[in-house]
Symmetry: C2
Subunit: 434 residues, 2 copies
């Protein structure tokens, strides 16, 4: 019979078991931290009506959508978890309690050009806090403590959560009469880390920003010092418009409370160069960098937005959220060998029998499972060496061997696969004192 070549689409991650175990642990750690802070689970379909999913989208995103017809329906696969959240909150508004704190961990789809480390199917791990009409700025200060917990749990110490407030930037543009160019200017200064200061100046000149205004922009984004010093320097810019004053007030309160929420000072700072995208965010914005691996880019980003679901409802739903692109994060951390697993195997113990009657080995395994251990019994008929090799390849830390002698004595030997150390234990307590 002719065979079909078993292959997986490019841009779709499919891991071998040992790596999948690491992936699942990362996913679970993130989920546990989200739950630790009281976020509620949410699960939405991967397929939505195109009309609903693309109510807002346009440009680059729309081109990447997996869109198709089934029956009479025009369908699309979700490309992020924010649009489904907006739909969900608008649809279920009367049945939700606000502030509505939800997490969602799920796959999203973007038909990007495939390249190393870029995926067309990838997990996003999102949290958002949605207010009904209003949402306290304290929520903006809580999120960095969640980011902090996650990266600590993932085994990192040297990382920085960089924060800014979009109102500061907008206030600055208003001050220099460049409100109409703000989207373009934000796009350019967002790249300063990548392209350098000179290129930023050049690009700003190209869109006809006057030299004195370029100077003001640079003066602003180059403000340095401690967070406290930066706040003081911002104050001294004497920018008097409402936007700027509100932004300064917000970021001051956020920075103050981030500390109270328990984030050590070395793990966060005010970074005035951060803008995060173009028109979605309206207040606090976040990016997170692993300091020794800056080239990875931000590993957790997000921010505050004015209105989540304006495409679906007249209700004003301000929110703040963050997102982790787990598939890419896993990919780069795994490439750099930076994943620190708690367990490298699912099973804690492999039970190997050297006798044909499996009664005693099964009963020992059952007992260990009742004690909460993950236990596999090697059930196939193979040589002892092959069975040990199996445990080794699966990185199972302990092996129990049961032979005639052990059954007679009511014991088993448990072997530490790392050290080779063996310990004898009674499975049949009644034989202990004979």
């Amino acid at each position: 019979m002719p065979k079909t070549e078993p292959r997986t689409l490019p841009g779709f991650m499919e891991l071998l078991p040992n790596e999948q175990i690491l992936f699942e642990q990362m996913k679970q750690k993130i989920e546990k931290v989200y739950q630790r802070f009281g976020f509620l689970p949410m699960d939405t379909p991967i397929i939505e009506l195109s009309e609903v999913l693309l109510a807002k989208a346009g440009g680059e995103t729309e081109k990447q959508i997996y869109r198709f017809e089934k029956g009479e329906r025009d369908l699309s696969l979700r490309f992020d978890l924010t649009v489904p959240l907006a739909k969900y909150v608008a649809k279920n508004h009367g049945n939700l309690s606000f502030p509505y704190r939800r997490y969602q961990i799920g796959k999203v789809y973007r038909g990007e050009r495939t390249q190393k480390g870029r995926f067309r199917e990838f997990y996003q791990c999102d949290i958002d806090i949605i207010g009904d009409e209003e949402l306290s700025i304290l929520n903006d200060a809580e999120l960095p403590s969640i980011i902090y917990q996650i990266f600590k749990e993932l085994g990192f110490d040297d990382f920085t959560i960089r924060m800014n407030n979009r109102k500061l930037l907008n206030g600055l543009f208003e001050e220099i009469g460049q409100k109409q160019n703000s989207v373009e200017i934000l796009r350019i200064i967002d790249k300063i880390e990548k392209i350098g200061k000179e290129s930023v100046i050049k690009e700003l000149e190209e869109i006809n920003i006057k030299k004195e205004n370029i100077d003001k922009i640079l003066e602003f984004i180059e403000i340095n010092g401690t967070n406290q010093e930066k706040l003081e320097k911002l104050e001294k810019l004497n920018i008097e418009n409402e936007q700027f004053k509100k932004g300064l007030e917000e970021i001051r309160e956020v920075l103050n409370y981030v500390k109270i929420f328990g984030v050590p000072e070395e793990n966060y700072n005010l970074d005035l160069t951060i803008a995060r995208g173009l028109d979605y965010y309206t207040g606090t914005v976040y990016e997170t960098f692993l300091n020794k691996y800056r080239e990875i880019g931000s590993v957790c980003s997000g921010g505050r937005y004015e209105n989540l679901a304006e495409n679906y409802t007249n209700k004003k739903l301000p929110g703040v959220g963050i997102s982790i692109g787990l598939t890419r994060l896993f990919y780069v951390l795994n490439e750099l060998n930076l994943i620190k697993p708690e367990k490298k195997s699912i099973s804690d113990v492999l039970v190997i029998s050297m006798v044909e009657n499996m009664k005693v080995p099964i009963e020992i395994a059952t007992k260990l499972r009742q004690e909460g251990k993950n236990v596999e019994i090697y059930l196939n008929n193979k040589k002892l060496k092959a069975k040990f090799k199996y445990a080794d390849k699966l990185k199972i830390p302990y092996v129990i061997v049961i032979g005639e002698e052990e059954i007679e004595k009511g014991t088993y030997k448990i072997r530490n696969m790392q050290t080779g150390e063996e310990k004898e234990t009674f499975w049949d307590e009644s034989k202990k004192h004979k």
Copy 2:
């Protein structure tokens, strides 16, 4: 601005938070049991090349596929987790250790006609054990103990795992010279529970089975008694072909070991009417029924197959597996109010502050989180009553209230939301003895 109506496709489950919590708990319980028995996690793309995914499919399944083109590629959404497993094992054969035990919990897609309780997107929770060339029959006996553990964990006692062996059926058909009609006969007797004995006889007559052979078929499927008695009656049928003898030997060993694997006798039996589909299974087959809710149908099914991946490889890969259709199971159990959650909320505690400075409330929440509790702080500025209502709607079991007095005394009150009972605790140990 005109609004798009926020709606979800029919046949796609989207739950409110309180129900989603129950769903996640069921999913997690199933996953934990799978891991308890040493199954490895696996995650495959939802999108595959149609050529790969549909290498075997045909008929009813093919019509239901979500299939579309993107770029130059003909793509399909997976409709089960077995075909992706076959692809994966064929593709990664050299990198896997056998027997390969994997679990996969994920969404699959079938464009069925929508009706109550039928879903187009639904979770399957599968385990399979795949052997390289051979696989011990003991694996067939282990699976019922996993089914047993799962339904116990889900809070059920009164359920029956029904088992049969396809070789017994095939041997019977050989005996009565109806091998060529076996698919058709199986299809008919598979319905006996639904349509009754008389209709089965009628349908068998319609495909020209002779009366004496219909009698033999009925004699076979009506064999009753204890498992031991059934085995004896099967023996006495004096069917001498190899198929039948092999089937009898297998089911005898499986039933013997199921008991050793710890499944109580009231939770499993030999049921000779079970066939499970048409040509996929070749040995042991399973169905699981909640005895008080037989109308739900089987809640966990599966069986032994000769060769997993014959469309992709010449390697012989026998396997045995089971599957739980979680979305439908959740739906019917929820409708029947049969879900017994461990926790009805994500948060264990809601911290409510009556003072403006949130320092102390935040520190108390941080401390409780460090102790492993899930804690939410109510951060919006609302009346006390609204905050309690929030805890109530989210079914959070404990609320901590912190006011001026508590801050001064270094205490907080923790309130049991069910009983109304309040307990005072010191958060500031230094104030304890003043």
